[in-house]
Amino acid sequence: MALVLFLSVFLIAACGLIYELIAGTLASYLLGDSVLQFSTIIGSYLFAMGIGSWLSRFIDRALVSRFITIELMVGLLGGFSSTILFLSFTYTTGFRFLLYALVIAIGILVGLEIPLLMRILRERFQFKELVANVLTFDYMGALGASLLFPLFLVPKMGMVRSAVLFGLVNAGVALWSTFLFKEHLPSPLLQRAVCAVVVLILGGGMVAADHITDTADAALYADDVIFSKTTPYQRIVLTKWKQDYRLYLNSHLQFSSRDEYRYHECLVHPGLASIPGAKRALVLGGGDGLAVREMLKYPGLESITLVDLDPEMTRQFSTHPLLVQLNGGSFKNSKVHIVNADAFPWLEKNEELYDFIAVDFPDPNNYSLGKLYTTAFYRLLKHHLAQNGVAVVQSTSPMFARQSFWCINETMKQAGFNVHAYHVYVPSFGEWGYVIGTQGDWRPPTQLPSGLKFLTTKNVTELFDFPPDLAPVPVEPNRLNDQSLVRYYDREWREIVR
C-alpha cells in the first residue's frame, strides 16, 4: 500500500518535470538562444512551484478532492501545453506571453501537489519517514523524466504527444486516488466520472496530435490539405476545395484541376499536332503526368520518355487514386518510360533524338533552376531534337513577368532555334506563355486530336498573337555565366506579390 502511494509521488514528479522540459525545449526551438530560454523557464517554473507550495496553506478542507481536482487541471493544462504553444506560435503573436503564463500556471498547480499529498498521507506515516520517502520518490521521478525526455520522448513521440501522454498520467493518478482515498471522498462516483471525462479529452488529444502540424500547413494554404509530403527534393502539397484540386511544389502552384486542361492542352498540342509523323516524345519535368495524358491522344507516338527529378512525385502520380484520376492513369501506359534524373546532366549523357520535346520546369526563381533556361541548356536541347522536331518550353507569364518571358524567347533564339511565342489565359495562373523552338520553318497545326476542351483549329492560331501590353521588350539572353533571367524574374514577381 505504501509503495503504491509513493509511486504516485514518483509519477506526478515526472509529469511536472516533463512539462517544464517541454516548455524549455519548445521555447529554444521557436525563439532560439537555448541557454536563455531554459534558464528563464526553469526559474519561472520553480518560482511558481514556490507560490503553489505557499498557497497550499490556504486549503483547509476536503484535501483529497482538491488534490484530485488539481491533478486533473495539471493533466489538462500540461497535457495540452505543447499543442497550445505550437498553435499560438502559428496563429498569434503572443507566443512568449502565453509560454510564461502557461509555465507559471502549471508551476503553481504542481507546487500544490506535494504539500497536499504530504498532508493527506500525514496520518499514515511517521513524519520523518514521510518526508524521506516523498522527497526520495519526487527526485527519482525527476530523474526518470529527465532521462526519458531526450532519449525517448523527443525523438520517438514528439512534443505534442509526449505532453498529452503525461497529461494522461496525471489524470490516471487522479482516477487512482479516487480508489485509494475513497473513504475521504463524499461522492467518489462523481469524481470518477469527472476523471473519466478528462481521460477521454486527453485520449482524443492523443489521436488528434498528428494533425496539429498539418493544421499549421493548412493555415498556409486556403484549402484543405489532402496530401502533403516532404521529399529530399521538394515539398509536395495537394489541396482540395469542392472539386478543385491544386498541386503546390515548394508552395508554388503547379496546377488547379479546374483549368489545368487549358495549360496542358496548350503546352502539348500546338507543337505536337504540327508534326504528324512524330514517333518519339520527351517530357522534362512534368512529373504530374498531365502533359503525358495529352500526348497519349496521338496514337502515332511510339514512346514517351518523362524525366523528372523526384521519384516520389512520379510514384504518387502513378499510384495515388485521386492523382491517377487527374492524369487519366497516363503513367500506366506501356508507351511511357519514367526516368528519375536531373534533366541537364541527363541530357548531357544521353544521345537520343526526339520528334517532340516538352520542357515543363518550375519557374526560374533561383540560380540552380535558372541553369535550365540558359543558352547552354537550349543548345543541348537542340542536339536532341530531330530535324523536323518541335521543342516547347513553358515560359512563365508574359503579363506578370514580361521581360522574363521574352528573355526565354531571346535565349532560345540565341541558342539557334527558330522561335514562336504564344500565350493563353489560364484562370488560376493568369495569362501564361510558351515558346516553341524549331530548326526550320514552322506553322501552327491545322488539325487537332478530337476531344479537346479548349483548343480548336481556329483559336490555336490566335494564341500566337500578342496584344500591345504583352508585346516583346528588349532583353538580354540568359547565360550560365550571366543569368539575366533570374534577375528579371525576381524583380518582376516582387512587383506584383504583396
Partner: protein
C-alpha cells in the same frame, strides 16, 4: 590521435566526450616537406642505378614544365622526358576527386585571356574552350560568381558595397581611375615581360615602395578599400599590401582589360587543364623522380635522380627557382625572391549549412577574416539537386615573416588546423561543423613567389629570366607572379629557345 585509456573509459562510461559535435575525418595530403628538405640539408641520397641519354630534360611538372612539353610535342620534337618529384604532376594546378566531385588543391581558375595573350588563347582553342571567337559557356564561371560576408550578411561581389561613406566611394573611384591610367600605359601586361619593355622610371619607383606606402601617397585610407586591396594581394601573391611591391600590387589590377563575364573554371580548377595536357603528354612524364643534382659533364648536363642519371644536351629547369642553388653545380647565386606559405583544405559536406540572403556563389569571401574564403567545387555542376558538396578553403599565411609562418604551418597538427578553419568559417556559417564529414588539408611551404619591393627590377631576376645557353629557367617565379599565364609563357619560351638550338 589515439585516445588514452582513461579518456576512453570516461567517455565510454558516462558520455563525457569533450564535445558533442559530429566527427570530422581527414588528414594532411601530399606531405613532401621532408623529402624537399633533404635537398636543403644535402642529405645523402642514393646514387642512380641507370644512365639514360636523352636530348632534352624538363625538370618540374607544374604548368611551366607541362607547357614546355606541350610546345616541344606540338612542334614535332618528341625526344625528351619531364621529371616530376611528386607522384602526381600539375604542381599548383593539382586536383583531387571524391565520390561527390573533383576539386582543386590550389589554382582554381583562369581569367578569360584578352586578345594579346596569344599563347593562352592557342591552348584554349586546342582544348575546345574557345571556338570561333566564342568562349564555352559551360566552363565560364556560372552565376552567381562571388559574394562577400560583410556586416553580418552576404552582399553581391567581393568589392565592399554595404556601409560605405561618400568618402569611401570617392576613394574607390580614385583608385579605379589610377588603375585605368596604369593599364593604358602599357607597362602592366600579361605576360609581364611584354610590359617591362615599356617600363619607365615611374615603374621602377613603384617597385621600390610597398602597396601600402603607395596608397598613403595617393590619399587612399578607406578601411573598405584597404581591405579590398589587401585581400587581393593576399589572394594572388600570399602577401599583405603593406609588404608587397606596389608594382606587383598594381599589376594585379592593371594588367587585365575589364573582362566580360569570366573567369574560366572547372570543378577541379586548373587541374582540368592539367588532365587534358597529361592525356597528350603523359608519355613524357616520369613522376616520383626527385632531381637532386644537375651538373655539367663536358658540353652536356647530368641530371641525377635516385633511380636514373639522365644525360642531356639541354635542361629546361621549370621547378621552383629558389631550389636551384641546392641542386646545381656550380651553384648559381641565391635567388632573390622569397616564397609564401599557403594552406588549402578540401571540405566534404554531406549537407549545406543554413544560408540566409544571397544564394551560394562560386567564390565566397568573409570580410575581416585572415583567410581567403572558399570556392565551391560543385558550382559548375548543372545538376538541380546537389545534396552534398565540396568546398575548397584558401588561406595564405601572410602575416609577418614567411619563415615564421612556415614554422606555424608545419607546427600545427591536423586537429589544430581543422579547428582554425572551422573557427574561421563559423563567422558566416555557425553550423559548419555539423555539415563537414571530411576535411583534407594541404600544407604548401613554398607555394608561390612573394614579390616584395625590389624583386621585379632585381638584376638577378632579369638575368635568370634571360634565355641563353643549354640550361634555361622556366618557372613562373621568374616573373615574380604566380599566374597560370606566366607559367605557360615561361615554359613555352624556354621550349622555343631549346628548339632553336637543338636544330
Amino acid at each position: 590521435m589515439k585516445p588514452t585509456r582513461r579518456e576512453f573509459g570516461a567517455s565510454a562510461l558516462v558520455g563525457l566526450a569533450p564535445k558533442t559535435d559530429r566527427k570530422t575525418e581527414g588528414g594532411f595530403v601530399f606531405e613532401s616537406q621532408e623529402r624537399g628538405h633533404l635537398l636543403r640539408d644535402h642529405a645523402r641520397l642514393a646514387a642512380p642505378r641507370e644512365r639514360v641519354k636523352v636530348p632534352v630534360v624538363i625538370v618540374g611538372g607544374g604548368v611551366a614544365g607541362l607547357s614546355a612539353a606541350w610546345r616541344l610535342d606540338k612542334r614535332g620534337f618528341h625526344n625528351f622526358v619531364l621529371l616530376e618529384m611528386e607522384q602526381q604532376a600539375g604542381g599548383n594546378a593539382r586536383s583531387g576527386q571524391n565520390e561527390i566531385s573533383a576539386y582543386p588543391w590550389a589554382a582554381h581558375y583562369l581569367p578569360v585571356p584578352d586578345k594579346n595573350e596569344t599563347l593562352v588563347r592557342e591552348l584554349c582553342e586546342e582544348l575546345g574552350l574557345l571556338q570561333d571567337g566564342v568562349w564555352s559557356e559551360r566552363w565560364l564561371c556560372h552565376s552567381p560568381q562571388e559574394r562577400l560576408f560583410l556586416h553580418g550578411r552576404w552582399q553581391d561581389s567581393i568589392e565592399p558595397a554595404i556601409g560605405l561613406t561618400a568618402d569611401d566611394a570617392r576613394q574607390f573611384k580614385h583608385f579605379e581611375e589610377r588603375i585605368a591610367e596604369f593599364h593604358a600605359s602599357g607597362a602592366f601586361r600579361i605576360p609581364m615581360e611584354e610590359g617591362m619593355a615599356k617600363s619607365t622610371d615611374r615603374e621602377r619607383q613603384l617597385d621600390r615602395v610597398t602597396m601600402g606606402e603607395w596608397m598613403r601617397r595617393e590619399g587612399l585610407y578607406s578601411p573598405y578599400l584597404k581591405w579590398f586591396i589587401d585581400y587581393s594581394t593576399r589572394d594572388d601573391y600570399g602577401t599583405h599590401a603593406e609588404q608587397i611591391s606596389a608594382w606587383a600590387g598594381l599589376h594585379y589590377f592593371a594588367a587585365r582589360a575589364p573582362e566580360d563575364k569570366g573567369p574560366l573554371t572547372w570543378p577541379e580548377g586548373n587541374g582540368w587543364i592539367v588532365k587534358k595536357l597529361l592525356a597528350k603528354l603523359g608519355k613524357y612524364v616520369r613522376t616520383g623522380s626527385m632531381v637532386y643534382r644537375i651538373q655539367p659533364a663536358g658540353r652536356r648536363w647530368e641530371i641525377l635522380t635516385e633511380k636514373t642519371l639522365y644525360e642531356a644536351d639541354f635542361v629546361i629547369y621549370a621547378a621552383p627557382t629558389f631550389l636551384a642553388p641546392w641542386l646545381m653545380e656550380p651553384a648559381p647565386p641565391r635567388w632573390p625572391i622569397d616564397s609564401a606559405p599557403w594552406l588549402t583544405a578540401n571540405l566534404t559536406l554531406d549537407r549545406w549549412p543554413a544560408n540566409k540572403g544571397l544564394e551560394y556563389a562560386w567564390d565566397n569571401v568573409i570580410y575581416s577574416s585572415p583567410a581567403l574564403g572558399y570556392v565551391i567545387a560543385t558550382h559548375q555542376s548543372v545538376a538541380m539537386h546537389q545534396p552534398e558538396t565540396v568546398w575548397t578553403f584558401y588561406w595564405a599565411l601572410a602575416d609577418g615573416n614567411a619563415a615564421d609562418q612556415r614554422r606555424i604551418l608545419l607546427g600545427g597538427d591536423w586537429n589544430w588546423w581543422k579547428e582554425k578553419i572551422f573557427a574561421d568559417l563559423e563567422r558566416a556559417h555557425p553550423d559548419i561543423r555539423q555539415c563537414v564529414k571530411r576535411m583534407d588539408i594541404f600544407r604548401i611551404g613554398h607555394a608561390m613567389p612573394r614579390p616584395l619591393p625590389g624583386t621585379i627590377f632585381h638584376p638577378e631576376r632579369q638575368r635568370r629570366a634571360k634565355l641563353s645557353g643549354s640550361l634555361v629557367y622556366a618557372n613562373c617565379d621568374l616573373s615574380g607572379l604566380s599566374l597560370f599565364e606566366e607559367a605557360q609563357y615561361r615554359g613555352v619560351k624556354a621550349a622555343e629557345h631549346v628548339l632553336r638550338l637543338v636544330g
